[in-house]
């Protein structure tokens, strides 16, 4: 395979070029036919007024209807009400159970389970993580978050597995579900909090349901993948034994898909955890709420104290479920009964000693030193640094020289030319279907009447993606070349990826001032790890034989990189671009909280004022923007997972 592609480069670009030219020619033809009448009819640079639909009236009416009927309409009394109650009751049950077994029991149980599925090292790590949560004085919020997570993950897994089962067993379902799952994965979670809140009100039920929307797709996707990938011969063998369809599914296909199912669980947990913080905006409580409250009093130290447990939980859960999926952990002989008995024993012992609650004396205050460090940093870096200038000057220059021209340029472009560019990009990289989706998504933004703010957001995304890619590719290449560098980088990437974005919103303001620049900076920090990882992995997977032959021909390191590694890792690099774009968009939106303006501000405004007309329209525009960006950068064969 590798040798074929290695010799292909000479012929491939030529073929590609011909196809690309043909596509562009067709597009140009379409433009010549369609643009003049459109311009003649709606002469306007920006999206024409005549082609917009104002949704303010119906959306306000809908929102009023929901609030007025929430206590009396059967839809709420017999459906949403029960759903909401069920969520509250189950979260409460888990929370009470966690409190009942106390900190010793929870820590022991976590450690024993980790030991059983993943070995001694992870067991120790798990215990240490739980104890750290207690030491940081975050025990109760951690338990609240765990209770919420347990229910949300369970619901996501059930929903995801059912969808995946349907898609795995029926081709038609698979085709129907694929675009739905695609869309769910591209949506930035911030955009759809408002409608959930309107129906369920502030609080845990809304948070759990929003999390399910966000976290179910990877489970569904991987379940379907696992079921489809089951070994044909094994299935035939089972069939020949006379098993019914259901027996075949339960005894052969599902066990064979175990690895994918566990990977799905892993992805679902990670995404649910990242949602736990965003959901704090709608009153989910727990650790996320502590981060959010600390943000309000501009207390980075306190935000970090609540952010660290989230990072620890994420790393532990990720490693343990990943080890379970690989089946790599050295398995101890002791069975589950012993595990449970051990945990119960410890819990009872702690209870008898009167230590069920985390002892208040055992806490460490990290907020103060952290705040001092942050203050020092901002005091010395903000401005007046000799030669290079302070961070505020950089931010100012970045805004004036990059963001402003980009935004003004995009807003100056006639609307039809934006559509044409989108169509051309999407078609060149994908099929006519992807091009059509992208153009329709972009047109929908115009129809919704938020063309200008959307292009503003788009300009921020483009600038942030450019910075992310430059830094990400450079770091990724370095990581692919040096094993030691990659090992040193790994914990840093873990932290960047799992640390809630809210924690670094304040430091970026302190460094870059209020405006679009800090939003871009936050987005870069968040999206960089994924780009670095995918780039490094892609470069490492380049066939060693191809590299060896290049080396034997006397290619220098730089030549090897440019002429062999990068072209062969093209698919991985494209995937990195795609992931970068999707992740950047998610954070640029949250940048509405630090002066990013545009669509992000509208969503925050909608949430804060309960204004469905502003919030939902902006949310829909973000979704369309996400779809468009995803399609424009989507490599044809895609195995992407959000947050990969």
């Amino acid at each position: 395979m590798a040798t074929v592609t290695a010799s292909a480069p000479r012929t491939l670009p030529a073929a590609l070029k011909n196809r690309a030219v043909a596509k562009l020619a067709l597009l140009a033809l379409a433009a010549v036919v369609l643009v003049p009448p459109a311009v003649a009819r709606w002469a306007s640079g920006s999206w024409p007024e005549a082609l917009t639909v104002d949704l303010t009236q119906p959306l306000t009416a809908a929102s009023d209807w929901i609030i007025d009927n929430r206590d009396s309409h059967p839809l709420f009394l017999y459906f949403f009400g029960h759903l909401s109650n069920a969520v509250v009751l189950s979260v409460r049950a888990v929370y009470l159970a966690l409190l009942a077994i106390g900190w010793a029991g929870v820590t022991a149980l976590g450690a024993f389970v980790a030991w059983r599925v993943a070995g001694v090292r992870l067991a120790l790590g798990t215990a240490a993580a739980f104890l750290a949560c207690g030491l940081l004085d975050m025990w109760l919020p951690t338990m609240q978050t765990l209770a919420l997570m347990a229910v949300a993950v369970l619901a996501s897994v059930v929903v995801g597995a059912l969808l995946g089962l349907a898609a795995g067993l029926s081709d038609r379902m698979d085709r129907a579900l694929r675009p739905v799952l695609d869309t769910m994965q591209v949506l930035p979670a911030f955009a759809y909090l408002l409608p959930v809140v309107l129906v369920f009100g502030i609080g845990v039920p809304a948070a759990v349901l929003a999390t399910v929307v966000y976290a179910a797709p990877p489970m569904a996707r991987l379940t379907a993948l696992g079921l489809r990938g089951a070994d044909k011969e094994v299935l035939e063998a089972v069939e020949s034994l006379g098993a019914t369809a259901r027996q075949r599914l339960l005894t052969a296909r599902i066990p064979l898909a175990r690895k994918e199912l566990l990977l799905g669980l892993n992805q679902t947990i990670m995404m649910a955890l990242s949602m736990a913080v965003i959901a704090s905006v709608i009153g989910a409580g727990g650790l996320g709420d502590r981060v959010y409250q600390a943000l309000a009093s501009v207390d980075v130290g306190a935000a970090l104290a609540a952010g660290i447990p989230i990072v620890l939980l994420a790393v532990v859960l990720d490693r343990v479920t990943a080890a379970a999926g690989d089946g790599t952990g050295e398995r101890p002989r002791a069975g589950w009964p012993y595990v449970l008995a051990g945990a119960v024993g410890l819990a009872v012992a702690a209870r008898l000693l009167g230590r069920a609650d985390w002892p208040e004396a055992w806490t460490v205050n990290i907020a103060e030193p952290v705040n001092r460090a942050v203050d020092w940093m901002t005091a010395h870096l903000y401005s007046g640094v000799p030669v290079v200038g302070g961070t505020a000057d950089w931010a100012g220059r970045f805004t004036t020289w990059v963001l402003d021209p980009l935004r003004d340029g995009l807003q100056w472009l006639p609307w039809w030319s934006v559509l044409l560019v989108v169509a051309a990009l999407a078609w060149l990289i994908g099929t006519w279907r992807t091009a059509l989706t992208a153009v329709l998504a972009m047109a929908a933004i115009g129809v919704l009447g938020v063309w200008e703010p959307s292009l503003d957001t788009l300009s921020q995304v483009i600038a942030a993606v450019a910075v992310t890619l430059v830094l990400g590719f450079a770091t990724g290449i370095a990581a692919a070349r040096s094993e030691r560098f990659e090992r040193a980088l790994r914990p840093v990437l873990d932290v960047c990826q799992t640390m809630p974005q809210f924690v670094y919103l304040i430091p970026v303001v302190a460094l870059f001032g209020v405006g679009r620049a800090p939003a871009v900076a936050a987005a870069v920090v968040y999206a960089l790890p994924a780009v670095v990882r995918i780039t490094a992995r892609g470069l490492r997977q380049v066939d060693p034989a191809a590299l060896e032959s290049a080396r034997s021909l006397g290619a220098t390191g730089g030549q090897q990189l440019r002429q062999v590694q990068l072209p062969l890792a093209r698919a991985a690099l494209l995937l990195a671009v795609n992931q970068g774009v999707v992740l950047v968009l998610a954070v640029v939106i949250i940048g509405g909280l630090v002066g990013g303006g545009a669509l992000g501000y509208d969503v925050v405004f909608g949430l804060a004022q309960g204004d469905l007309a502003t919030g939902l329209v902006a949310g829909a525009a973000i979704v369309c923007l996400g779809l468009m960006l995803d399609r424009v950068t989507q490599p044809t064969d895609r195995r992407a997972k959000k947050g990969a």
Binding site: I67, R70, D71, P74, F76, L77, F80, G81, H82, N85, A86, V88, L89, V91, R92, Y95, L96, L99, Q144, G201, I202, G203, V204, I282, G283, G285, D289, Y292, Q293, L295, A296, S297, A302, A367, T378, Y382, S383, A392, G396, R397, T399, T400, D404, I506, V509, G513, V514, G515, G591, G592, L593, G596, G597, G600, Y601, V604, L607, A608, Q609, G610
Partner: protein
């Protein structure tokens, strides 16, 4: 068969636990409330520090004097009204005036009841730092603002002067004001109070001029002295049409609101929250401890409670 029985059992259990018939969306406490047999009160905290100070002191007294467990949830005012009506939170201690919500929930639906004045009067306005106002005394009249527009320019304000606004949850007429008063300014939304405070502090550190939407009572005045810019005088009803506003903001006596059921059945906790009333100075004292000295809200509340016994003793009677 076994699966069917367990499904049936699950459905029955769900029906039993959720109550077979209608599910009432107006009565839904937080799942974390009343855990371990303790009586819980859930308070909503708004994103500004003054609101945190109210909640911190109320929480401290509820916990240490009355033996309640207190949960706090951070939400903005408008969603807090909604949460209050549904019983997700029990009290909102500082409301800056939301006539529409008041009509809907207090008058029409009767799910929320007023709980009187907080004792603090709020006022929104435009402010410049005092160090700048002292050098240029005429900047404190809106008529002279255009003269200084270029001094307030930033990269974000696109060639005009920058008027920095805060969180989208705050009451603001600033876009209309800038337009109707013909000012050469661009409203830049900081997006959150935290971002706005951080930026103000950075400006103040360098003694740079700035113009910002701000409000009192606020602890930041103690750190960064600011002088209000005079806008055309406020008259009753001059802000009725949001498009045509051309006058200053009113002075608002801040209000407390309780969930109606909680007000009736909340016992000692509800009585305390109804009587809770303190002064602007009290609130600022606690706010400053939280925001500037970085005490936890609990430590700040304890300090205040220890030194103001006469004030809060009357709330408990």
């Amino acid at each position: 068969m076994r699966t069917r029985t367990s499904v049936m059992a699950a459905v029955t259990l769900l029906a039993l636990t959720t109550g077979c018939g209608a599910a009432d969306m107006t009565r839904q406490a937080s799942p974390f409330a009343n855990a371990q047999g303790a009586k819980t009160v859930t308070l909503s905290v708004q994103s500004w520090v003054g609101a945190q100070a109210n909640v911190a002191v109320a929480q401290y007294l509820l916990e240490h004097e009355l033996g309640y467990r207190v949960d706090t949830v951070q939400i903005d005012e408008v969603p807090a009204w909604d949460a209050l009506s549904q019983g997700r939170v029990d009290a909102l201690l500082e409301d800056w005036g939301h006539p529409e919500e008041e009509q809907r929930y207090v008058e029409d639906k009767k799910t929320i009841v007023g709980a009187g004045d907080l004792g603090v009067t709020g006022h929104i306005g435009w402010y410049v730092p005092t160090y700048f106002a002292e050098q240029h005394p005429d900047v404190t009249d809106w008529k002279n603002l255009n003269k200084y527009a270029d001094r307030f320019r930033t990269p974000e304000s696109g060639g005009k002067g920058q008027l920095m606004d805060g969180s989208p949850s705050y009451v603001t007429n600033d876009k209309a004001l800038v337009k109707n008063l013909d000012l050469d300014y661009q409203v830049v939304f900081a997006g959150s109070e935290a971002a706005q405070i951080t930026q103000i502090k950075q400006f103040a550190k360098e003694k740079k001029p700035f113009l910002t939407y701000w409000y009192s009572p606020q602890w930041l005045f103690k750190k960064v002295p600011m002088t209000e810019v005079k806008l055309p005088e406020y008259k009753e009803g001059c802000d009725a049409d949001p498009e045509k506003v051309a006058c200053a903001y009113p002075h608002t006596p801040l209000q407390k609101y309780l969930n109606a059921d909680f007000a009736k059945d909340g016992g000692a906790a509800a009585r305390l929250l109804k009587k809770f009333q303190w002064t602007t100075e009290d609130q600022n004292e606690v706010s400053l401890m939280i925001a500037e000295q970085k005490l936890t809200p609990e430590e700040a509340a304890k300090k205040w409670v220890d030194s103001h016994e006469s004030t809060w003793k009357t709330w408990l009677s």
